[in-house]
Structure formats: structure tokens, C-alpha cells
């Protein structure tokens, strides 16, 4: 299946777009999606890498599913809204 992932900030500027498609198997977890993002979109690797590392720093990129940070192992469905939350910088 193909899932569109919303991207923001430096990731969005690096990719030149605000959403990218990733092709994944059925019933993918957020880890599958993160791995596919890095593989299929080299320009996003800098932003994605920490997201599928077991030693993610607290400030690392994370995936949000339907506007909430996704716990590890979250399964993503076809109509879910998936977003790559890279290092934020509000305030």
C-alpha cells in the first residue's frame, strides 16, 4: 500500500514538498513507515534516521498518527493521517 506522510520544517524544505508517498506492505507499523521514508526519500534521511533508531534522542523525529505521537509498534491503516514530526522549534 502507499501512504502519504506529511513533512514539516527542515524536512519539508529539504524535500521541496509538504508530503511524500511511501510504499509499504500491508498493516505497516510506524517503524516500517520510517524505514521506508529513509529508503525511498534519501533527502529525508537526516530527519528520519533517529525515528527508527532504538536509541532515539528525546528531540528525535517521531511519527504522529491522526494528530497524536504514535507509540512504538503502532499499526497504520489506509486512511490514517501520518506526519513526520522532526525536531520542533517553537517558543
Amino acid at each position: 500500500m502507499t501512504i502519504d506522510v506529511l513533512i514539516f520544517g527542515a524536512a519539508s524544505r529539504a524535500a521541496g514538498t509538504d508530503r511524500v508517498p511511501v510504499t509499504v506492505g500491508d498493516s505497516p507499523t510506524t517503524e516500517h513507515i520510517a524505514a521506508a521514508l529513509a529508503e525511498q526519500h534519501p533527502a529525508l534521511r537526516f530527519a528520519v534516521f533517529a525515528a527508527h533508531s532504538p536509541n532515539s534522542a528525546p528531540h528525535a523525529a517521531r511519527l504522529a498518527v491522526n494528530h497524536a505521537f504514535a507509540p512504538p509498534g503502532t499499526i497504520v491503516h489506509a486512511h490514517d493521517e501520518v506526519a513526520l514530526i522532526t525536531l520542533v522549534s517553537g517558543g
Binding site: F8, P58, A83, V88, S89
Partner: protein, 148 residues
């Protein structure tokens, strides 16, 4: 607890801020007058000219503005959840947080946080925690706009 968070488009002007506070002032004043609140603390975050470029920390251009990108409605939800967490942790009487989206020019306010607490220590700790967590968990990104 009196908790209010809002993301608004453009800078937080004195008028915009006053309008929000006016809605909450009577409640805060009543908590103050009855002797519950011992500390009121307010922080205004202002866009500085010397804001470093994340892309090029050595850049010496003058900053014109910051463009704040928010992931809506997640940013609002996370801001509100953060406000509740911090207000509960420090037993605050009130927490009001405002954040900009879109363009905020140098010298304009992009963030306001106001807390009412029993004592100074809770007010200061709550403010520190809130801003630290804001910069970790709330999906808002800033992008510098340089003067030509």
C-alpha cells in the same frame, strides 16, 4: 484550574493579548483577591534580530522575521495537553499560553505564557518546564526570513 491555550495567526499584539486576558482576568483577579494566588508570572518571547540561522549558524545577515509553521490541529492539542500537565504538576491556579503561527517580525511577540501559582517557586518551575516541553513536543517549526 483556569487553563487556556491558543495558536493565533501573526504576532501576538498587545491588543490580541489584552483581548485574551480580559476573558480570564476576572477569574484570576478573584483568586488573587481571596488570597490564594501568591505569584503571577508572565513571559513574553520576542523575535530577536540576531536569531541564528539553523541552516547556517555563521550567517551574518539581519533577520527580518520568523515564519512559524504549525501542524494543525495537533499543535493546538499538544499545547493544551502540555498546559494541563504542567498546571497539574505544579498545582497552578491559572495557565495561559499563546503562540503565533505564520510570520512574526523582529521585535514582535511570538509567545506569551502567564501562570498564577501559590508561590514563586512553582511559578518559575512551571514556566521553565512548560517552555522546555514546548520545544520538544509541540509541532511548531520556525523558519528564518532574512533581510535582503
Amino acid at each position: 484550574m483556569n487553563i487556556f491555550t491558543h495558536i493565533l495567526t501573526g504576532p501576538i499584539t498587545p491588543d490580541a493579548h489584552a483581548a485574551v486576558l480580559a476573558a480570564h482576568a476576572p477569574h484570576i483577579a478573584s483568586l488573587q483577591n481571596d488570597g490564594s494566588v501568591g505569584a503571577l508570572l508572565r513571559f513574553d518571547g520576542i523575535v530577536r534580530r540576531a536569531e541564528p540561522s539553523t541552516a547556517d549558524p555563521s550567517a551574518h545577515h539581519d533577520l527580518l522575521a520568523l515564519d512559524y509553521q504549525t501542524y494543525d490541529p495537533m499543535a493546538q492539542r499538544e499545547l493544551d495537553a502540555l498546559a494541563h500537565r504542567v498546571a497539574t504538576r505544579y498545582a497552578l491556579y491559572s495557565l495561559i499560553a499563546l503562540h503565533s503561527r505564520g510570520r512574526v517580525h523582529v521585535g514582535e511577540v511570538s509567545f506569551v505564557l502567564q501562570v498564577a501559582a501559590p508561590h514563586r517557586a512553582e511559578a518559575l518551575a512551571a514556566m521553565t518546564d512548560f517552555i522546555d516541553d514546548l520545544k520538544r513536543d509541540v509541532p511548531i517549526w520556525k523558519h528564518p526570513v532574512w533581510a535582503k
